[in-house]
Protein backbone atom coordinates (compact mmCIF):
# COMPACT_ATOMS: atom_id res chain seq x y z
CA UNK A 1 0.00 0.00 0.00
CA UNK A 2 1.17 3.48 -0.84
CA UNK A 3 0.63 5.94 2.03
CA UNK A 4 0.13 9.40 0.59
CA UNK A 5 -0.96 11.27 3.73
CA UNK A 6 -0.70 10.52 7.44
CA UNK A 7 -1.82 12.46 10.46
CA UNK A 8 0.62 15.29 11.26
CA UNK A 9 2.82 14.43 14.24
CA UNK A 10 2.16 17.81 15.83
CA UNK A 11 -1.56 17.05 16.12
CA UNK A 12 -3.12 14.79 18.75
CA UNK A 13 -5.18 11.78 17.81
CA UNK A 14 -8.07 13.16 19.83
CA UNK A 15 -11.06 14.04 17.64
CA UNK A 16 -11.89 17.74 17.66
CA UNK A 17 -15.05 19.27 19.07
CA UNK A 18 -15.58 21.27 15.88
CA UNK A 19 -18.96 20.78 14.19
CA UNK A 20 -19.19 18.77 10.97
CA UNK A 21 -18.23 20.98 8.03
CA UNK A 22 -16.40 23.53 10.18
CA UNK A 23 -13.44 25.34 8.59
CA UNK A 24 -11.40 25.42 11.80
CA UNK A 25 -10.65 21.69 11.44
CA UNK A 26 -9.18 22.18 7.96
CA UNK A 27 -7.00 25.05 9.16
CA UNK A 28 -5.83 22.95 12.11
CA UNK A 29 -4.78 20.15 9.76
CA UNK A 30 -2.87 22.57 7.51
CA UNK A 31 -1.06 24.11 10.48
CA UNK A 32 -0.10 20.63 11.68
CA UNK A 33 1.30 19.66 8.29
CA UNK A 34 3.37 22.83 8.04
CA UNK A 35 4.71 22.54 11.59
CA UNK A 36 5.89 19.03 10.70
CA UNK A 37 7.38 20.14 7.39
CA UNK A 38 9.27 23.00 9.03
CA UNK A 39 10.19 20.93 12.09
CA UNK A 40 9.23 23.64 14.58
CA UNK A 41 6.94 21.81 17.03
CA UNK A 42 9.45 21.94 19.87
CA UNK A 43 10.43 25.52 19.13
CA UNK A 44 6.98 27.05 19.08
CA UNK A 45 4.44 28.63 21.41
CA UNK A 46 0.86 28.94 20.24
CA UNK A 47 -1.65 31.51 21.51
CA UNK A 48 -5.20 30.11 21.55
CA UNK A 49 -8.08 32.60 21.20
CA UNK A 50 -11.44 32.79 22.90
CA UNK A 51 -13.80 31.31 20.34
CA UNK A 52 -14.35 27.84 18.93
CA UNK A 53 -10.57 27.33 18.70
CA UNK A 54 -10.07 27.99 22.43
CA UNK A 55 -9.11 24.40 23.20
CA UNK A 56 -6.36 24.22 20.57
CA UNK A 57 -4.16 22.75 23.32
CA UNK A 58 -6.32 19.63 23.19
CA UNK A 59 -5.49 19.25 19.49
CA UNK A 60 -1.88 20.37 19.22
CA UNK A 61 1.25 18.90 20.74
CA UNK A 62 3.13 22.11 21.52
CA UNK A 63 3.32 24.77 24.24
CA UNK A 64 0.07 26.75 24.30
CA UNK A 65 -1.25 29.75 26.14
CA UNK A 66 -4.98 30.37 26.20
CA UNK A 67 -5.54 34.13 26.00
CA UNK A 68 -8.33 36.42 27.11
CA UNK A 69 -10.83 37.34 24.37
CA UNK A 70 -9.07 39.44 21.73
CA UNK A 71 -5.75 39.79 23.56
CA UNK A 72 -3.64 37.17 21.78
CA UNK A 73 -1.55 39.76 19.87
CA UNK A 74 -0.57 41.45 23.16
CA UNK A 75 0.24 38.10 24.78
CA UNK A 76 2.20 37.03 21.70
CA UNK A 77 4.12 40.32 21.65
CA UNK A 78 5.42 39.55 25.13
CA UNK A 79 6.16 35.89 24.31
CA UNK A 80 8.24 36.97 21.31
CA UNK A 81 10.06 39.66 23.31
CA UNK A 82 10.97 37.13 26.00
CA UNK A 83 11.83 34.34 23.53
CA UNK A 84 12.94 35.99 20.26
CA UNK A 85 14.37 32.67 19.09
CA UNK A 86 11.05 30.82 19.44
CA UNK A 87 8.29 30.59 16.85
CA UNK A 88 5.13 32.33 18.10
CA UNK A 89 1.85 31.51 16.39
CA UNK A 90 -1.24 33.70 16.85
CA UNK A 91 -4.62 32.15 16.03
CA UNK A 92 -7.76 34.30 16.18
CA UNK A 93 -11.38 34.35 15.07
CA UNK A 94 -13.17 37.40 13.68
CA UNK A 95 -14.96 38.39 16.88
CA UNK A 96 -11.69 37.95 18.73
CA UNK A 97 -9.52 39.88 16.26
CA UNK A 98 -11.84 42.39 14.59
CA UNK A 99 -14.21 43.36 17.45
CA UNK A 100 -12.99 43.06 21.04
CA UNK A 101 -9.31 42.78 20.07
CA UNK A 102 -9.13 45.49 17.38
CA UNK A 103 -6.70 47.62 19.34
CA UNK A 104 -4.33 44.74 20.10
CA UNK A 105 -4.06 43.49 16.49
CA UNK A 106 -3.66 46.99 15.04
CA UNK A 107 -0.91 47.93 17.48
CA UNK A 108 0.95 44.63 17.23
CA UNK A 109 0.85 45.10 13.43
CA UNK A 110 1.86 48.74 13.72
CA UNK A 111 4.84 47.87 15.90
CA UNK A 112 5.80 45.34 13.27
CA UNK A 113 5.99 42.50 15.77
CA UNK A 114 7.65 39.53 14.11
CA UNK A 115 4.61 37.29 14.49
CA UNK A 116 2.63 34.87 12.32
CA UNK A 117 -1.12 35.47 12.57
CA UNK A 118 -3.80 33.07 11.40
CA UNK A 119 -7.10 34.93 11.25
CA UNK A 120 -10.11 32.67 10.75
CA UNK A 121 -12.96 34.79 9.35
CA UNK A 122 -16.28 32.94 9.46
CA UNK A 123 -18.43 36.09 9.51
CA UNK A 124 -20.08 35.06 12.79
CA UNK A 125 -19.58 34.43 16.50
CA UNK A 126 -19.48 30.65 16.39
CA UNK A 127 -18.78 29.73 19.98
CA UNK A 128 -21.54 31.81 21.54
CA UNK A 129 -24.14 30.48 19.11
CA UNK A 130 -24.24 32.61 15.97
CA UNK A 131 -24.36 36.30 16.88
CA UNK A 132 -23.39 39.12 14.52
CA UNK A 133 -19.64 39.59 14.04
CA UNK A 134 -17.78 42.65 12.72
CA UNK A 135 -17.36 40.64 9.51
CA UNK A 136 -21.01 39.55 9.16
CA UNK A 137 -22.22 40.41 5.63
CA UNK A 138 -24.88 42.98 4.83
CA UNK A 139 -28.21 41.18 4.86
CA UNK A 140 -26.83 38.18 6.75
CA UNK A 141 -29.22 36.97 9.45
CA UNK A 142 -27.75 36.12 12.83
CA UNK A 143 -29.27 35.68 16.29
CA UNK A 144 -28.56 39.34 17.06
CA UNK A 145 -29.40 40.68 13.58
CA UNK A 146 -32.55 38.62 12.96
CA UNK A 147 -33.70 40.80 10.07
CA UNK A 148 -30.26 40.81 8.50
CA UNK A 149 -27.35 43.16 9.01
CA UNK A 150 -27.85 46.71 7.76
CA UNK A 151 -25.08 49.24 7.15
CA UNK A 152 -27.16 51.84 8.96
CA UNK A 153 -26.69 51.41 12.68
CA UNK A 154 -24.55 48.24 12.42
CA UNK A 155 -21.87 49.35 10.00
CA UNK A 156 -20.41 47.42 7.12
CA UNK A 157 -18.28 44.30 7.54
CA UNK A 158 -14.66 45.12 8.34
CA UNK A 159 -12.07 44.08 5.77
CA UNK A 160 -9.10 43.36 7.98
CA UNK A 161 -6.43 42.73 5.32
CA UNK A 162 -7.26 46.00 3.59
CA UNK A 163 -7.27 47.84 6.92
CA UNK A 164 -3.85 46.52 7.92
CA UNK A 165 -2.20 47.33 4.58
CA UNK A 166 -2.18 51.00 5.62
CA UNK A 167 0.18 50.18 8.49
CA UNK A 168 3.67 50.45 7.08
CA UNK A 169 5.28 47.94 9.42
CA UNK A 170 3.09 45.05 8.21
CA UNK A 171 5.08 42.82 5.87
CA UNK A 172 2.76 40.19 4.47
CA UNK A 173 -1.04 40.12 4.23
CA UNK A 174 -3.03 37.56 2.28
CA UNK A 175 -6.67 36.45 2.21
CA UNK A 176 -7.54 32.87 1.26
CA UNK A 177 -10.47 30.52 1.71
CA UNK A 178 -10.93 26.85 2.58
CA UNK A 179 -14.17 26.10 0.71
CA UNK A 180 -12.56 24.03 -2.06
CA UNK A 181 -9.55 21.78 -2.49
CA UNK A 182 -7.81 24.25 -4.78
CA UNK A 183 -8.28 27.00 -2.22
CA UNK A 184 -7.21 24.76 0.65
CA UNK A 185 -3.94 24.20 -1.20
CA UNK A 186 -3.55 27.95 -1.67
CA UNK A 187 -4.27 28.45 2.01
CA UNK A 188 -1.56 25.97 2.91
CA UNK A 189 0.96 27.87 0.81
CA UNK A 190 -0.10 31.14 2.43
CA UNK A 191 0.21 29.74 5.96
CA UNK A 192 3.64 28.40 5.11
CA UNK A 193 4.72 31.79 3.80
CA UNK A 194 3.48 33.48 6.97
CA UNK A 195 5.40 30.94 9.08
CA UNK A 196 8.61 31.25 7.09
CA UNK A 197 8.47 35.03 7.27
CA UNK A 198 8.74 34.91 11.04
CA UNK A 199 11.53 32.35 10.88
CA UNK A 200 13.42 34.59 8.45
CA UNK A 201 12.85 37.65 10.62
CA UNK A 202 10.71 39.41 8.00
CA UNK A 203 8.10 40.78 10.43
CA UNK A 204 4.35 40.96 10.93
CA UNK A 205 2.64 38.49 8.60
CA UNK A 206 -1.00 37.46 8.53
CA UNK A 207 -3.25 35.19 6.56
CA UNK A 208 -7.00 35.81 6.75
CA UNK A 209 -8.88 32.61 5.99
CA UNK A 210 -12.55 32.66 4.96
CA UNK A 211 -13.96 29.68 6.78
CA UNK A 212 -17.24 27.78 7.03
CA UNK A 213 -19.45 27.86 10.11
CA UNK A 214 -22.48 25.83 9.00
CA UNK A 215 -23.91 25.68 12.51
CA UNK A 216 -23.68 29.44 13.14
CA UNK A 217 -24.97 30.20 9.65
CA UNK A 218 -27.75 27.61 10.10
CA UNK A 219 -27.07 25.92 6.76
CA UNK A 220 -25.84 22.48 5.71
CA UNK A 221 -22.11 21.89 5.27
CA UNK A 222 -22.61 21.83 1.48
CA UNK A 223 -24.56 25.09 1.55
CA UNK A 224 -21.82 26.64 3.65
CA UNK A 225 -19.34 26.05 0.80
CA UNK A 226 -21.75 27.82 -1.54
CA UNK A 227 -22.12 30.70 0.91
CA UNK A 228 -18.40 31.39 0.71
CA UNK A 229 -18.30 31.02 -3.07
CA UNK A 230 -21.42 33.09 -3.76
CA UNK A 231 -21.53 35.62 -0.92
CA UNK A 232 -18.28 35.99 0.92
CA UNK A 233 -15.56 36.16 -1.71
CA UNK A 234 -17.16 39.05 -3.58
CA UNK A 235 -17.01 41.20 -0.44
CA UNK A 236 -13.77 39.67 0.90
CA UNK A 237 -11.72 39.07 -2.28
CA UNK A 238 -8.95 36.50 -1.80
CA UNK A 239 -5.47 37.56 -2.82
CA UNK A 240 -2.15 38.91 -1.60
CA UNK A 241 -2.67 42.39 -0.14
CA UNK A 242 0.89 43.07 0.81
CA UNK A 243 4.19 41.36 0.20
CA UNK A 244 7.25 43.42 0.96
CA UNK A 245 9.68 40.60 0.36
Amino acid sequence: MNIIKTQPKSITTESTKYCPGCGHGIVLRLIGEIIDELGIREKMILTAPVGCAVVLYDYMLCDVVECAHGRAPAVATALKRVHPDKFILVYQGDGDLAAIGTAEIIHAANRGENLSVIFVNNAIYGMTGGQMAPTTLIGQKTTTSPSGRTAKGMGKPIRVCELLTTLEETKYLERTTVHSVRNINKTKAAIKKVFQNQMNGVGFSMVEILSMCPVGWKVSPTESLQFIEEQMISYFPPGVYKDTD
Partner: protein
Protein backbone atom coordinates in the same frame (compact mmCIF):
# COMPACT_ATOMS: atom_id res chain seq x y z
CA UNK B 1 16.06 33.21 38.90
CA UNK B 2 19.65 34.32 39.21
CA UNK B 3 20.45 37.16 41.51
CA UNK B 4 21.11 40.25 39.47
CA UNK B 5 23.11 42.90 41.27
CA UNK B 6 23.78 46.05 39.38
CA UNK B 7 26.21 48.51 40.92
CA UNK B 8 28.21 47.62 43.98
CA UNK B 9 27.25 48.23 47.58
CA UNK B 10 24.55 50.30 49.17
CA UNK B 11 24.52 54.02 48.77
CA UNK B 12 22.21 56.76 50.00
CA UNK B 13 20.36 58.33 47.12
CA UNK B 14 17.52 60.74 46.56
CA UNK B 15 14.67 59.51 44.37
CA UNK B 16 10.91 59.74 44.07
CA UNK B 17 8.88 56.80 45.38
CA UNK B 18 7.83 55.97 41.81
CA UNK B 19 11.45 55.97 40.66
CA UNK B 20 12.62 53.83 43.59
CA UNK B 21 10.04 51.25 42.49
CA UNK B 22 11.65 51.26 39.03
CA UNK B 23 15.18 50.89 40.34
CA UNK B 24 14.15 48.07 42.67
CA UNK B 25 12.64 46.24 39.68
CA UNK B 26 15.94 46.59 37.82
CA UNK B 27 17.89 45.25 40.81
CA UNK B 28 15.45 42.36 41.31
CA UNK B 29 16.02 41.21 37.74
CA UNK B 30 12.75 42.33 36.19
CA UNK B 31 13.14 41.32 32.54
CA UNK B 32 10.04 42.98 31.10
CA UNK B 33 7.98 46.03 31.89
CA UNK B 34 4.76 46.97 30.10
CA UNK B 35 2.63 50.01 30.92
CA UNK B 36 0.50 52.91 29.77
CA UNK B 37 1.02 56.48 31.04
CA UNK B 38 -1.20 57.83 33.82
CA UNK B 39 -0.65 60.39 36.58
CA UNK B 40 0.51 60.08 39.35
CA UNK B 41 2.63 57.02 38.39
CA UNK B 42 4.24 58.17 35.13
CA UNK B 43 7.70 58.55 36.72
CA UNK B 44 7.95 54.75 36.84
CA UNK B 45 7.62 54.18 33.05
CA UNK B 46 9.77 57.23 32.36
CA UNK B 47 12.48 55.98 34.69
CA UNK B 48 12.31 52.43 33.37
CA UNK B 49 12.31 53.49 29.71
CA UNK B 50 15.90 54.62 30.29
CA UNK B 51 17.04 51.92 32.71
CA UNK B 52 15.58 48.94 30.85
CA UNK B 53 17.25 50.11 27.67
CA UNK B 54 20.69 50.41 29.27
CA UNK B 55 20.20 46.97 30.82
CA UNK B 56 19.10 45.54 27.47
CA UNK B 57 15.74 44.38 28.82
CA UNK B 58 12.19 44.71 27.50
CA UNK B 59 10.39 48.05 27.91
CA UNK B 60 7.20 48.52 25.94
CA UNK B 61 4.67 51.34 26.16
CA UNK B 62 1.45 49.49 25.41
CA UNK B 63 -1.57 50.85 23.54
CA UNK B 64 -3.72 50.57 26.66
CA UNK B 65 -3.74 49.11 30.15
CA UNK B 66 -5.70 46.18 28.74
CA UNK B 67 -2.87 45.39 26.33
CA UNK B 68 -0.24 46.05 29.01
CA UNK B 69 -1.67 43.50 31.46
CA UNK B 70 -2.04 40.91 28.69
CA UNK B 71 1.61 41.47 27.79
CA UNK B 72 2.37 40.88 31.47
CA UNK B 73 0.35 37.66 31.20
CA UNK B 74 2.39 36.59 28.16
CA UNK B 75 5.78 37.43 29.66
CA UNK B 76 4.89 35.70 32.93
CA UNK B 77 3.73 32.62 31.00
CA UNK B 78 7.07 32.68 29.17
CA UNK B 79 8.82 32.48 32.55
CA UNK B 80 10.13 36.06 32.81
CA UNK B 81 10.09 38.36 35.81
CA UNK B 82 7.62 41.04 34.76
CA UNK B 83 6.08 44.21 36.14
CA UNK B 84 3.47 46.81 35.22
CA UNK B 85 2.41 50.00 36.93
CA UNK B 86 -0.63 52.22 36.74
CA UNK B 87 -3.06 54.29 38.75
CA UNK B 88 -6.68 53.63 39.67
CA UNK B 89 -8.59 53.97 36.33
CA UNK B 90 -5.83 51.99 34.61
CA UNK B 91 -5.96 49.30 37.29
CA UNK B 92 -9.72 48.99 36.75
CA UNK B 93 -8.98 48.26 33.08
CA UNK B 94 -6.37 45.67 34.03
CA UNK B 95 -8.73 43.68 36.24
CA UNK B 96 -9.83 41.14 33.61
CA UNK B 97 -6.20 40.33 32.90
CA UNK B 98 -5.31 40.13 36.59
CA UNK B 99 -8.08 37.56 37.05
CA UNK B 100 -6.57 35.48 34.23
CA UNK B 101 -3.09 35.78 35.77
CA UNK B 102 -4.39 34.72 39.17
CA UNK B 103 -6.37 31.85 37.62
CA UNK B 104 -3.39 30.62 35.61
CA UNK B 105 -1.18 30.98 38.73
CA UNK B 106 1.41 33.18 37.05
CA UNK B 107 3.76 35.48 38.96
CA UNK B 108 3.87 39.22 38.28
CA UNK B 109 4.23 42.55 40.06
CA UNK B 110 1.61 45.29 39.71
CA UNK B 111 2.08 48.82 41.05
CA UNK B 112 -1.02 50.90 41.83
CA UNK B 113 -0.30 54.53 42.70
CA UNK B 114 -3.83 55.26 43.84
CA UNK B 115 -5.60 58.50 42.87
CA UNK B 116 -9.00 60.02 43.62
CA UNK B 117 -12.13 58.36 42.18
CA UNK B 118 -14.65 57.19 41.16
CA UNK B 119 -14.50 57.75 37.42
CA UNK B 120 -11.74 59.93 36.12
CA UNK B 121 -11.70 61.47 39.62
CA UNK B 122 -8.58 63.51 40.09
CA UNK B 123 -4.83 63.09 40.33
CA UNK B 124 -4.60 63.67 44.08
CA UNK B 125 -3.45 60.92 46.43
CA UNK B 126 -6.16 58.53 47.58
CA UNK B 127 -6.68 55.15 49.23
CA UNK B 128 -10.05 54.45 47.66
CA UNK B 129 -8.81 51.39 45.72
CA UNK B 130 -8.49 49.35 48.93
CA UNK B 131 -11.52 47.20 48.13
CA UNK B 132 -10.41 46.73 44.51
CA UNK B 133 -6.98 45.51 45.60
CA UNK B 134 -7.75 43.47 48.70
CA UNK B 135 -10.92 41.73 47.47
CA UNK B 136 -9.46 40.32 44.26
CA UNK B 137 -10.63 43.10 41.96
CA UNK B 138 -11.64 41.17 38.86
CA UNK B 139 -14.06 38.28 38.40
CA UNK B 140 -13.85 34.94 40.19
CA UNK B 141 -12.58 33.83 43.60
CA UNK B 142 -9.02 35.00 43.89
CA UNK B 143 -6.73 37.21 45.95
CA UNK B 144 -3.59 39.21 45.34
CA UNK B 145 -0.87 39.85 47.89
CA UNK B 146 -0.76 43.62 48.50
CA UNK B 147 2.18 45.42 50.11
CA UNK B 148 1.62 49.01 51.27
CA UNK B 149 4.80 51.15 51.50
CA UNK B 150 4.81 54.42 53.45
CA UNK B 151 8.30 55.66 52.51
CA UNK B 152 10.62 55.71 49.51
CA UNK B 153 12.73 53.09 51.30
CA UNK B 154 9.74 50.79 51.50
CA UNK B 155 8.82 51.47 47.85
CA UNK B 156 12.28 50.15 47.05
CA UNK B 157 12.41 47.22 49.47
CA UNK B 158 8.84 46.06 48.97
CA UNK B 159 9.13 46.08 45.16
CA UNK B 160 12.08 43.70 45.47
CA UNK B 161 10.10 41.55 47.90
CA UNK B 162 7.13 41.59 45.55
CA UNK B 163 9.08 39.78 42.81
CA UNK B 164 10.16 37.08 45.25
CA UNK B 165 6.69 36.65 46.72
CA UNK B 166 5.15 36.47 43.23
CA UNK B 167 7.56 33.71 42.19
CA UNK B 168 7.30 31.90 45.51
CA UNK B 169 3.50 31.77 45.62
CA UNK B 170 2.92 31.99 41.83
CA UNK B 171 0.48 34.87 41.87
CA UNK B 172 0.12 38.61 41.20
CA UNK B 173 1.58 40.83 43.92
CA UNK B 174 0.48 44.44 44.29
CA UNK B 175 2.43 47.40 45.58
CA UNK B 176 -0.37 49.69 46.73
CA UNK B 177 1.04 53.16 47.01
CA UNK B 178 -0.66 56.51 46.51
CA UNK B 179 -0.09 59.92 44.95
CA UNK B 180 1.79 61.14 48.04
CA UNK B 181 4.14 58.17 48.49
CA UNK B 182 4.72 57.91 44.74
CA UNK B 183 5.66 61.58 44.42
CA UNK B 184 7.58 61.81 47.69
CA UNK B 185 11.30 62.57 47.32
CA UNK B 186 13.47 61.45 50.23
CA UNK B 187 16.84 59.81 50.73
CA UNK B 188 16.96 56.04 51.06
CA UNK B 189 19.48 53.26 51.15
CA UNK B 190 19.82 51.82 47.66
CA UNK B 191 21.19 48.38 48.43
CA UNK B 192 21.77 45.42 46.10
CA UNK B 193 18.97 42.90 45.57
CA UNK B 194 18.24 41.03 48.80
CA UNK B 195 16.37 37.82 47.95
CA UNK B 196 13.70 36.86 50.50
CA UNK B 197 14.07 33.14 49.90
CA UNK B 198 17.13 30.97 49.62
CA UNK B 199 15.59 29.11 46.72
CA UNK B 200 12.61 29.76 44.54
CA UNK B 201 10.63 26.95 42.90
CA UNK B 202 11.85 26.28 39.31
CA UNK B 203 9.46 27.47 36.62
CA UNK B 204 8.86 24.03 35.11
CA UNK B 205 5.44 25.22 33.89
CA UNK B 206 6.82 28.08 31.75
CA UNK B 207 6.28 28.18 27.99
CA UNK B 208 9.67 27.79 26.34
CA UNK B 209 8.93 25.41 23.47
CA UNK B 210 8.44 21.74 24.37
CA UNK B 211 11.89 20.41 23.39
CA UNK B 212 12.64 17.32 25.48
CA UNK B 213 9.46 17.49 27.53
CA UNK B 214 5.68 17.26 27.29
CA UNK B 215 3.93 20.42 26.06
CA UNK B 216 3.10 22.99 28.73
CA UNK B 217 -0.29 24.66 28.65
CA UNK B 218 -1.25 27.88 30.40
CA UNK B 219 -5.03 28.08 30.63
CA UNK B 220 -7.95 29.17 32.75
CA UNK B 221 -10.84 27.49 30.92
CA UNK B 222 -12.37 24.42 32.51
CA UNK B 223 -15.73 23.74 30.90
CA UNK B 224 -17.33 21.92 33.85
CA UNK B 225 -16.71 22.07 37.62
CA UNK B 226 -15.56 18.45 37.52
CA UNK B 227 -13.21 19.24 34.64
CA UNK B 228 -10.95 21.09 37.06
CA UNK B 229 -12.39 24.49 37.96
CA UNK B 230 -13.59 23.30 41.35
CA UNK B 231 -10.17 21.79 41.96
CA UNK B 232 -8.44 25.01 40.92
CA UNK B 233 -10.62 27.01 43.29
CA UNK B 234 -9.81 24.67 46.18
CA UNK B 235 -6.12 24.83 45.38
CA UNK B 236 -6.18 28.62 45.29
CA UNK B 237 -8.10 28.74 48.55
CA UNK B 238 -5.44 26.60 50.23
CA UNK B 239 -2.69 28.79 48.87
CA UNK B 240 -4.42 31.92 50.16
CA UNK B 241 -4.88 30.35 53.61
CA UNK B 242 -1.18 29.52 53.71
CA UNK B 243 -0.27 33.08 52.79
CA UNK B 244 -2.62 34.41 55.46
CA UNK B 245 -0.73 32.41 58.03
CA UNK B 246 2.74 33.30 56.72
CA UNK B 247 2.60 36.87 55.56
CA UNK B 248 1.13 39.44 57.92
CA UNK B 249 3.40 42.46 57.99
CA UNK B 250 2.70 45.38 60.29
CA UNK B 251 4.32 48.09 62.37
CA UNK B 252 3.47 48.59 66.03
CA UNK B 253 4.37 52.10 67.12
CA UNK B 254 3.60 52.82 70.79
CA UNK B 255 0.55 50.57 70.84
CA UNK B 256 1.39 48.87 74.14
CA UNK B 257 -0.59 50.49 76.91
CA UNK B 258 -2.11 53.05 74.54
CA UNK B 259 -5.45 54.75 75.26
CA UNK B 260 -6.04 55.29 71.58
CA UNK B 261 -4.66 53.32 68.64
CA UNK B 262 -4.69 54.86 65.21
CA UNK B 263 -4.89 52.35 62.38
CA UNK B 264 -3.56 53.64 59.07
CA UNK B 265 -1.38 52.51 56.15
CA UNK B 266 0.55 54.24 53.38
CA UNK B 267 0.64 58.06 53.33
CA UNK B 268 -1.94 58.45 56.12
CA UNK B 269 0.24 56.42 58.49
CA UNK B 270 3.10 58.90 57.96
CA UNK B 271 0.86 61.87 58.64
CA UNK B 272 -0.66 60.13 61.67
CA UNK B 273 2.76 59.44 63.13
CA UNK B 274 3.65 63.14 63.01
CA UNK B 275 0.42 63.94 64.85
CA UNK B 276 1.08 61.24 67.46
CA UNK B 277 4.60 62.54 68.11
CA UNK B 278 3.19 65.97 68.67
CA UNK B 279 0.46 64.65 70.94
CA UNK B 280 2.27 62.21 73.19
CA UNK B 281 3.22 63.83 76.46
CA UNK B 282 -0.27 65.26 76.88
CA UNK B 283 -1.02 62.66 79.55
CA UNK B 284 -2.80 60.08 77.40
CA UNK B 285 -0.92 57.67 75.20
CA UNK B 286 -1.60 57.28 71.47
CA UNK B 287 -0.21 54.46 69.32
CA UNK B 288 -0.15 53.58 65.64
CA UNK B 289 -0.92 50.19 64.16
CA UNK B 290 0.20 50.16 60.54
CA UNK B 291 -0.60 47.23 58.23
CA UNK B 292 2.33 46.83 55.82
CA UNK B 293 0.45 44.07 54.03
CA UNK B 294 -3.16 45.06 53.33
CA UNK B 295 -3.83 41.56 52.01
CA UNK B 296 -3.32 39.44 53.98
CA UNK B 297 -4.38 41.76 56.77
CA UNK B 298 -2.47 41.49 60.11
CA UNK B 299 -5.65 40.76 62.08
CA UNK B 300 -4.12 38.32 64.57
CA UNK B 301 -1.60 40.93 65.68
CA UNK B 302 -4.23 43.63 66.09
CA UNK B 303 -6.38 41.31 68.17
CA UNK B 304 -3.41 40.53 70.45
CA UNK B 305 -2.82 44.23 71.03
CA UNK B 306 -6.51 44.88 71.62
CA UNK B 307 -6.67 42.08 74.19
CA UNK B 308 -3.80 43.57 76.17
CA UNK B 309 -5.12 47.12 76.23
CA UNK B 310 -8.36 47.33 78.21
CA UNK B 311 -10.62 50.29 77.34
CA UNK B 312 -8.57 51.22 74.32
CA UNK B 313 -10.27 53.02 71.46
CA UNK B 314 -9.41 52.71 67.78
CA UNK B 315 -9.34 55.40 65.16
CA UNK B 316 -9.10 54.26 61.54
CA UNK B 317 -7.78 56.95 59.21
CA UNK B 318 -8.06 56.56 55.46
CA UNK B 319 -8.09 58.71 52.34
CA UNK B 320 -11.42 57.14 51.41
CA UNK B 321 -14.95 56.95 52.80
CA UNK B 322 -13.96 53.95 54.95
CA UNK B 323 -12.78 50.76 53.28
CA UNK B 324 -10.03 49.29 55.50
CA UNK B 325 -12.43 50.21 58.32
CA UNK B 326 -14.37 47.04 57.44
CA UNK B 327 -11.28 44.85 57.91
CA UNK B 328 -10.65 46.45 61.31
CA UNK B 329 -14.27 45.85 62.34
CA UNK B 330 -14.02 42.25 61.15
CA UNK B 331 -10.76 41.67 63.03
CA UNK B 332 -12.06 43.13 66.28
CA UNK B 333 -15.72 42.09 66.16
CA UNK B 334 -15.51 39.56 68.99
CA UNK B 335 -13.61 41.74 71.47
CA UNK B 336 -14.28 45.43 70.80
CA UNK B 337 -17.60 47.24 70.65
CA UNK B 338 -18.30 48.81 67.27
CA UNK B 339 -18.73 52.23 68.89
CA UNK B 340 -15.10 52.09 70.05
CA UNK B 341 -13.88 51.86 66.45
CA UNK B 342 -13.98 55.36 65.06
CA UNK B 343 -13.31 56.59 61.58
CA UNK B 344 -11.70 59.70 60.17
CA UNK B 345 -11.46 60.02 56.42
CA UNK B 346 -12.79 61.37 53.18
CA UNK B 347 -12.73 60.32 49.54
CA UNK B 348 -12.11 62.26 46.36
CA UNK B 349 -8.41 63.01 46.77
CA UNK B 350 -8.63 64.50 50.27
CA UNK B 351 -5.74 64.02 52.67
CA UNK B 352 -5.46 64.67 56.40
CA UNK B 353 -2.80 66.96 57.90
CA UNK B 354 -0.86 66.36 61.14
CA UNK B 355 -2.91 69.21 62.64
CA UNK B 356 -6.27 67.79 61.61
CA UNK B 357 -5.30 64.38 63.01
CA UNK B 358 -4.02 66.04 66.19
CA UNK B 359 -7.41 67.71 66.66
CA UNK B 360 -9.19 64.45 65.95
CA UNK B 361 -7.06 62.67 68.58
CA UNK B 362 -7.80 65.32 71.20
CA UNK B 363 -11.51 65.21 70.43
CA UNK B 364 -11.62 61.41 70.63
CA UNK B 365 -9.73 61.25 73.90
CA UNK B 366 -12.04 63.81 75.52
CA UNK B 367 -15.13 61.66 74.89
Amino acid sequence: MAENNIGSDSKRVLLKGNEAVGEAAIKAGCQCYFAYPITPQTETPEYLSRRMETENRVFLQAESEVAAINMVFGAAAAGARVMTSSSSPGISLKQEGISYIAGAELPCVIINVVRGGPGLGNIEASQADYFQTTRGGGHGDYRCIALAPNSVQECYDMTMNAFDLADYYRMPVFIQSDGIIGQLVEPFEMHPYKPMFEKLPPKTWALTGCAGRKPNVVRTLYMTPADGLEQLNRKLEQKYKKIQSELRWFENYNCDGADLIIIAYGATSRIAKSAIKKHNGNGKKVGLFRPRTIWPWPDVELVEIAKKNKNVKFLVIEMSMGQMLEDVQLALMDIVLKKDILFYGMGGGWNPTPESIYDKISETLKK
